[in-house]
């Protein structure tokens, strides 16, 4: 429904704006009333469409299952924390939260160690072909690697441990970090490095003492995104995690394999997995956006 409204937005707005094509100051058309109103309406609808489902999930997580089933209690109900208590205490979600956090943290740190120098070299020496090797990891369907991985790691008795999860999540994080850091280094001027080398630093020294400190914003962007993507990853953990290393998305998925769905607790669990990542994203909005749009504007 809203789709049609927003997609009509473009063809309509022009007509309204174009009523005064020859106006001397083009920014202030004589009849500016219609487009701003239209814009506000469209943007409000957009925001509603994106936020309402999330609000619904939050609301449902505070309802008892009886209330969720009762259409008379869509908006008016007595909020309860039982679902959260149920999820956290009886289903060991603290453990899953820790697992998700631990795997995301280590895969991010290790990917940074591998990825930042690689991105630097690939950017400074324009190694586009080598970059493609790393970016292949982003293109290839994960399933096609999972069967061999599973058996190699099972033979090494690694399946079910943290190591193999970190390794598989690094596979997601590394191409992301290389991609973001490459476009960051591409836009970082080389003058300071050159000056440092003239002053007697070796190239590696210049990288370590000059470029790295200057790259903190880029590294922050890359780490936040890598953390988010690792936290959200489902497929690798679904196959490679064991009872003790299960991550949150897998835990939530297992919730519905029982006969009847405990909707209240399921929504509470969904909130528990999404809320931390949303809070992080809100506080680091600038970085998240610049990471997601890295490399998009240079063509």
């Amino acid at each position: 429904m809203t789709d049609t409204v927003t997609s009509k937005a473009r063809p309509e707005s022009p007509l309204l704006e174009s009523t005064v094509p020859n106006s001397p100051s083009p920014r202030r058309p004589r009849k500016p009333r219609a487009y701003p109103i239209f814009r506000v309406v469209c943007l409000t609808l957009t925001v509603l469409l994106f936020i309402a489902p999330l609000v619904w999930m939050l609301v449902a997580s505070f309802k008892t299952n009886v209330d969720i089933n009762d259409s008379g209690k869509t908006f008016i109900f007595t909020p309860t924390l039982d679902n959260y208590a149920n999820v956290l205490s009886r289903n060991n979600y603290f453990g899953f939260i820790f697992n998700s956090f631990w795997v995301a943290l280590w895969s991010t740190v290790l990917s940074l160690l591998l990825g930042v120098p690689a991105a630097y070299a690939m950017s400074r020496f324009t190694m586009r072909r080598s970059a493609m090797v790393v970016l292949m990891a982003r293109i290839i369907p994960g399933v096609s690697l999972l069967v061999p991985w599973y058996f190699i790691f099972a033979n090494l008795r690694l399946v079910g441990g943290f190591g193999v999860l970190v390794l598989s999540h690094m596979f997601v994080a590394l191409p992301l970090i290389v991609y973001i850091m490459m476009s960051f280094f591409d836009s970082l001027p080389t003058e300071l490095e050159d000056a440092a080398q003239v002053d007697g630093l070796t190239p590696i020294g210049a990288f370590r003492r000059i470029t790295l400190p200057l790259s903190v914003p880029g590294i922050a962007t890359a780490s936040i995104l890598s953390f988010i993507f690792s936290w959200n990853n489902f497929m690798f953990a679904l196959v490679l995690s064991g009872a003790n290393t299960k991550t949150l998305p897998v835990a939530i998925f297992n919730f519905v394999s029982y006969a009847s769905i405990d909707w209240g607790s399921l929504m509470a669990a969904a909130i528990i997995v999404t809320l931390p990542i949303m809070v992080i994203a809100l506080f680091t909005q600038k970085y998240v956006v610049s990471g997601l749009t890295a490399g998009a504007t240079k063509g």
Partner: protein, 315 residues
Amino acid sequence: MTTKATGRSTGRAAPKATARQACSHWANRHRKWLFAAPAMIFVALLIAIPLAWTVYLSLTDTQGSVRAESEFVGFANYLQVFRDTDRFWPAMLRTFTFTSGALAAEMVLGMGIALLLWRPFKGEKWVRVAILLPLVATPVAVGMMWRLIFDPNIGFANQLLSWVGLPAQPWLSGRESALPTLMFVDVWQWTPMIVLILLAGLTSLSDEPDEAARIDGANAWQRFRFVTLPLLRSTVVVALVLRGIDALKTFDILYATKGKGGGSFNEAETLNVYAYGLSFDYNDYGIASTVLVLFFLIIIALMWMVTYRRKEKQS
């Protein structure tokens, strides 16, 4: 060059120091590969061996366990898959329906929203926050959320329809409606990504061509169609490629909402879900690998087509 100079100027100390110096000298001279190689080796090892193994498996009739007795069957699996009008071809069709449908909707909506957000306005910050939230939400949780909203009996979607006086829909549980509903979910989650990319492109454009066209009397549609869009071309291609690859590989929301095999009628089974099911629900590795090899080839071919055509147009 600079390396040599620094190496010589300080290199007259004790032999130990010279050894260290030589080491550092060597490291600096080979820094290109010293820096790049670890990441490349890591990725190559994790890709090359499994990929070779997958290709090998696709030529055998391995079942049950990867190391079970199996015979080399040549291209028999490929023939079988090509003749499989029951699961393979429908899954292929669904993959392309899902990807092209969702991608088209995301591009149109994303462009619309990006244009609405383009010029600064009051409250911009809040709109940006709103579009960022779906993007970072965990796909499995998103799947569960929509499962509740689209539940035929207790879901809010049908409640909304009943308020407007429309009949209830089966949504995710319907045989025909499951895939379009999932496309809607994909559009909900990933349109913001397109918005952000296009917005970054739009804000990097200079105002002058737009102003010039305005002075020449072009209306806003003409200015968008003949000025902004051509300037934005490379950004649009980046958005299409990035999102397209991920859409083809969509797994999380499909598996989280429909489970094994994409539902009881396989109504939401894409190639990725099909291959996953063959691998881990049925342990039919030979066929699974065949499907995966084909799937991978399709992705590579599409990628190549997009980048190749782009280069042709540029030159």
